[in-house]
């Protein structure tokens, strides 16, 4: 079993082969699925906890504060302590709420984000499943989360929750378009929807450089639209703390609230990793054409570091947005989408198609 931090293909394949040799195919598949599920669950917990900590530190530094610094060195165990607190809290029962939907909603939200992570390539040969239409699949799956949000708002029997849920519905349905279209711009350039090939094609240069102006515009639009899709500030209208107290999860407590909370951060991670994969070259190192020595040094950095570095950069950008801008109003939110982002996006695809046709990209 060859373990290579630059190429995981042989590693994953050897595990696969070993399982199929030991067990009948059905059981091998089952065991494989269980292993992958457990690995992702663990990954989920770690990333979620880390992101909450990172957000609190980032916003603290932007606000001239220190941030969490009591639990462990530099407060690194703060989120674990918070998580334990949330686990032990009472699950408040809401009078006249739709009990089934109320209980199911957090799971829908978290399952939607859980499904999306399966298609993301972390490094060469390190992804759970490599669809032919990976980008399409991710777009489809991430938009499922809004059902959970809508159900949560509806079933809580709270007017604030309902307003939040309705806002969230209008918001995600609109911004879904921009996310899809901005990714489509890159699909036009790449000619494929398969994540592994999208990354492979960027070995000669990231798409944001290859597709220059339209790719950059698409990247900016994707950042804006995906921030809106993950319900983060300045688009956090579904929560809108100062208007709707906590929006759709006003009535949730304890671990159910933790699910919503975790799903928000995981959605942010997924969106950031899509941005990193599609625009910033995924796990591909940074290369400058002609600088052989420089490129060689860049190749030496393992792909996982590249991947997580780029994702962290995009996440940091999104946190920067949230902690700088005031919140939009619901009609302005829709104006931004339908009057600005969508037309620009459509023109942008045309330009991209023209550039690809004329071969003006790098």
């Amino acid at each position: 079993m060859a373990f290579n931090i630059y190429d995981f293909t042989s590693f994953t394949q050897s595990i696969d082969q070993a399982l199929y040799e030991w067990l009948p195919p059905f059981w091998a598949l089952l065991v494989e699925m269980t292993i992958i599920g457990l690995v992702f669950l663990l990954f989920y917990a770690i990333v979620g906890l880390f992101l909450v900590y990172a957000e609190r530190k980032v916003c603290a530094f932007m606000q001239n504060r220190v941030g969490p610094n009591r639990v462990g060195p530099y407060g690194v165990f703060q989120t674990i302590a918070d998580f334990i607190k949330l686990l032990m809290k009472e699950l408040v029962y809401i009078k006249n709420s739709d009990k089934l939907l109320f209980n199911i909603a957090p799971f829908i939200v978290i399952i939607a984000s859980f499904m999306a992570i399966a298609a993301i390539p972390f490094a060469k040969g390190l992804h759970a499943i490599d669809f032919d239409i990976g980008i399409m699949y991710v777009i489809a799956v991430t938009s499922l989360g809004v059902i959970g949000v809508l159900l949560a708002g509806w079933s809580s029997n709270n007017k604030y929750s309902l307003i939040g849920a309705m806002r969230s519905g209008a918001q995600i349905i609109s911004y879904e378009l921009s996310v899809g279209l901005s990714l489509l711009t890159i699909i036009v350039l790449a000619g494929t929807m398969q994540f592994s090939q999208v990354v492979e094609m960027q070995s000669t240069g990231w798409f944001i450089f290859k597709g220059h102006i339209p790719a950059f515009i698409a990247f900016v639009i994707f950042l804006i639209a995906s921030t809106a899709e993950t319900n983060r500030g300045p688009f956090d209208l579904a929560e809108a703390e100062s208007e709707l107290t906590a929006g759709f999860h006003t009535e949730y407590s304890g671990i159910k609230f933790a699910f919503f909370f975790l799903a928000e951060y995981m959605n942010m991670f997924i969106v950031a990793s899509i941005a990193a994969t599609v625009f910033l070259g995924g796990w591909m190192p940074f290369h400058i054409y002609g600088w052989e020595g420089f490129n060689h040094v860049m190749d030496f950095i393992p792909p996982l570091v590249w991947y997580f570095g780029k994702t962290a950069f995009v996440i940091w950008l999104m946190m920067w947005f949230k902690w700088t801008f005031p919140r939009l109003r619901i009609d302005q939110l829709l104006t931004l989408e339908w009057k600005y982002l969508l037309p620009i996006n459509l023109v942008n695809i045309l330009i991209m198609a023209f550039i690809v046709l004329m071969g003006w990209h790098f």
Partner: protein
């Protein structure tokens, strides 16, 4: 045509204003030297309150365990919310005169609004402010304090 150019200038100025805003937060993010948070319980030793800080009412005693309070009760009448009770006593001096001395100067910290009227109006300047500020206790009876120390007496020349 006018609305067409306006569309794009709007986008340009909008983005510009957003980037200006981001430059402010970004600058603070990269300059951790500007953090203003005080690490409170850790800096307890270094933490020095301003000398005029109104933390707690005290009655200063000198090295002979003597204070300046005559027990006249002006602070009690001036206190707007009854947080001071002066219980005075009368003793007979050797020359036969009767003199009022203080028995207990009771101060309810829990009722005090720190308006400083007692300190200002005291004719013999017997009261002062202390700079302690950690007033949390588990039992509220501890917030009722007797300001004159046991066995203390008044400084001679104060009438």
């Amino acid at each position: 045509m006018n609305s067409f150019t306006k569309y794009f200038t709007d986008i340009f100025w909008g983005f510009r204003s957003l980037l200006i805003g981001m430059s402010v937060t970004g600058r603070y993010f990269f300059s951790p030297g500007q953090i203003v948070t005080q690490q409170y319980p850790e800096n307890r030793k270094k933490l020095k309150m301003f000398e005029r800080f109104k933390g707690d009412l005290i009655m200063p005693h000198d090295e002979h365990n003597q204070h300046r309070c005559t027990g006249c009760g002006i602070c009690e009448t001036n206190c707007p919310n009854g947080s001071i009770e002066v219980i005075s006593d009368r003793i007979e001096l050797p020359d036969g005169k009767k003199k009022r001395i203080i028995d207990k100067h009771i101060y309810h910290l829990s009722m005090c609004t720190f308006c400083s009227l007692c300190v200002k109006t005291c004719p013999s300047e017997a009261l002062d402010w202390d700079q302690t500020f950690e007033h949390a206790v588990f039992d509220r009876t501890k917030l009722t304090k007797i300001l004159n120390k046991p066995g203390s007496s008044i400084i001679k020349d104060i009438e």
